[in-house]
């Protein structure tokens, strides 16, 4: 169950990353830091202001979406032309945000209130309730994103911009607006993921690195820019994380994602659902 919950948190990360990549063609290496900051915002809102968890999460998503807009406007918009400069800027941003939060929040670990308490019985097995709530939350957010992209005007505009930027411009879809939207949504999803992880486990300024790497693995496996690919790859990765340590031991589990990526690359270099460049 841990594996499943983690898998869905990684999917949230991957969705944000793939959305940003699809529109802006930038890999946001500081996404893990957004995830961490989102969790800390929830921590301060619940601990200092005493807001309920749900309100705090919603507020944190809004705040992080704002951060995403600022980053897009003043940093990434200028670097869109050169992906390698953008990588460096994003890694520099990682250093700044991470060390900044070590200074501000300190190194000791903190906790967000639990999502739900007590066990839950399904089919005779006992499952902690908070895991279920976390999975449900992540599923709902992913579904909302899916519906947004497929049913609303703005969502369709984003898909169009990702598929064919020039064509989208000719249809009156501004690329900068779409970039801002993708950064905002991506950062909000990361904040939600961070909150779920922070509630299931603990907060620390370094919590963003693992989900970042997992999120990137997922989008390579699923195919860059493909949402269904991200869902499936996230589930596969979650299963590997959950099952391989039990079956083969921890050393193999650490190699699992790498081996999987190599196998997929040899068979189908674009990932499960990707299309060629």
């Amino acid at each position: 169950m841990n594996g499943l919950a983690l898998g869905w948190i990684y999917v949230l990360m991957a969705l944000g990353l793939t959305l940003i990549f699809g529109i802006m063609h930038i890999m946001q290496f500081a996404h893990g830091e957004i995830y961490m900051l989102g969790a800390y915002v929830v921590y301060y809102l619940t601990a200092s202001l005493g807001l309920p968890l749900l309100t705090a999460t919603a507020l944190s998503m809004l705040v992080m979406a704002g951060v995403g807009l600022v980053l897009e406007r003043f940093l990434f918009r200028r670097l869109k032309v050169d992906w390698s400069s953008a990588v460096v800027a994003a890694t520099g941003l990682t250093l700044i945000l991470q060390s900044g939060s070590v200074v501000m929040f300190g190194l000791y670990q903190r906790n967000i209130p639990l999502l739900a308490q007590g066990p839950f019985h399904i089919l005779g097995s006992v499952v902690p309730k908070d895991r279920i709530v976390a999975v449900a939350g992540a599923v709902v957010l992913s579904l909302v994103l899916y519906l947004f992209l497929n049913l609303t005007r703005y969502g369709e505009a984003m898909v169009a911009s990702a598929q064919n930027p020039e064509g989208a411009i000719l249809q009156g879809i501004g690329p900068h607006r779409m970039s801002a939207l993708s950064m905002g949504i991506g950062c909000a999803l990361a904040a939600a993921g961070g909150t779920l992880a922070g509630s299931l486990f603990t907060l620390s300024p370094y919590m963003g690195l693992v989900p970042l790497v997992k999120g990137m693995t997922i989008i390579v496996l699923g195919g860059m820019g493909s949402l269904p690919g991200a869902f499936i790859a996230g589930m596969v990765l979650g299963l590997i994380d959950g099952l391989v340590p039990i079956l083969f031991g921890a050393a193999w589990a650490s190699m699992g994602p790498l081996i999987l990526v190599i196998v997929v690359l040899v068979i189908k270099p674009q990932g499960f659902f990707g299309h060629a460049e």
Binding site: A89, G92, S99, T217, I219, S254, L265
Partner: protein, 338 residues
């Protein structure tokens, strides 16, 4: 003009080497000697990282191969009692071989895809070192393996490299030799092939260059030197840890990338300048250690926004601007900031 600038460059190299030889003697401080050793290793890592850029790719997984080289060399001295002169190249070879095997699937993709794959690789290698506790000590790390010990050098005879000053000079020699090899590679036919692939890989393929093969050779060569760097680091610190915050974490990779880009990825001396300048900045800002990554990160962003080709091109750009002020103002030149 060409002659004068090449003379200036050779003078610069000579000055750098002399400075590197003299500085530990002048400082005569064991802390600084080990810090300088670390800087030398960073120089080698950054320079070999730039080698990957010669085929137009970026690697964020260099530190994984460094980890591989470090553990290989350390374990060979610890378990098999082999001399350092053998384990150092062995560390490099294993890293290079792994890169060769991984290169074939990895080099089929380009750009950001490749970057992500290298990140995944380096994290996987680190986690392997972390989780394979029978071999690598796992959480406790690996300690108790010998340093370089005494090696027989052709002219000097038996030399003991146990002390930190001696080890510094050993590192300096290895790093200089490696840099020389990298430089020769870049200026050789192989290097020109790499550049052809970077400029237009399809064209290179069309004139009969086996793009995949040369890219894999490039990746493997770069990772060989990453392995060497790792082995040097292992025997300098004589302790290894695969924890996330230790030498082989993702942060080190980020630092290496920043060194390379801040120095300038287009020129051979770029990563060397970047590694030295930024490492020295890190050393001098040690009193405010918690702000260190912030400073480095801010420098990276400023450089990328203002001078994307790095520090080494700044003198040239200033010179160009001076020239341009005499030239008739064209529309492109008169255009205000981009």
């Amino acid at each position: 003009m060409q002659n004068r600038s090449s003379l200036g460059i050779s003078l610069g190299w000579a000055l750098a080497v002399i400075l590197a030889i003299v500085s530990p003697l002048a400082l005569s401080n064991i802390y600084w000697t080990s810090a300088l050793t670390r800087i030398l290793i960073s120089v080698l890592m950054a320079a070999s990282l730039r080698t990957v850029y010669l085929v137009g790719e970026f690697s964020l997984g260099h530190v994984g191969f460094m980890c591989l080289g470090a553990y290989t060399s350390a374990l060979m001295t610890l378990k098999a009692n082999l001399p350092f002169a053998l384990t150092l190249p062995a560390g490099g070879f294993l890293a290079g071989l792994t890169a060769l095997l991984l290169g074939y699937p990895f080099m089929r993709v380009k750009g950001i895809y490749f970057v992500i794959l290298t990140v995944v690789t380096s994290e996987s290698l680190r986690l392997l070192a972390f989780n394979w506790s029978d071999l690598t000590g796992g959480t406790d790390g690996l300690i108790g393996f010998p340093g370089a010990g005494s090696l027989s050098i052709p002219i000097l005879g038996q030399v003991d490299f146990g002390g930190s000053n001696e080890y510094y000079y050993l590192t300096l020699t290895v790093v200089c030799a490696s840099l020389y090899i990298l430089y020769c590679l870049e200026k050789s036919r192989l290097g020109f092939t790499w550049l052809a692939i970077r400029e237009t890989d399809r064209m290179a393929g069309a004139v009969g260059i086996n793009v995949l093969k040369y890219k894999v050779i490039n990746f493997s060569a770069a990772c060989f030197f990453a392995g060497i760097g790792g082995a040097l680091l292992a025997h300098s610190e004589q302790a290894l840890s695969a924890l996330e915050g230790a030498s082989f974490g993702i942060m080190t990779t980020i630092y290496l990338l920043v060194y390379t880009v801040v120095g300038g990825k287009m020129r051979f001396e770029g990563p060397i300048v970047g590694a030295v300048v930024l490492s020295l900045i890190s050393e001098f800002t040690r009193p405010v250690e918690e702000y260190q990554p912030m400073i480095i990160g801010a420098i990276a962003i400023v450089i990328v926004m203002l001078s994307p080709d790095g520090l080494v091109t700044i003198p040239k750009r200033v010179g160009l601007r001076r020239l341009r002020s005499f030239a008739p103002k064209s529309k492109a030149a008169a255009k205000p900031k981009a």
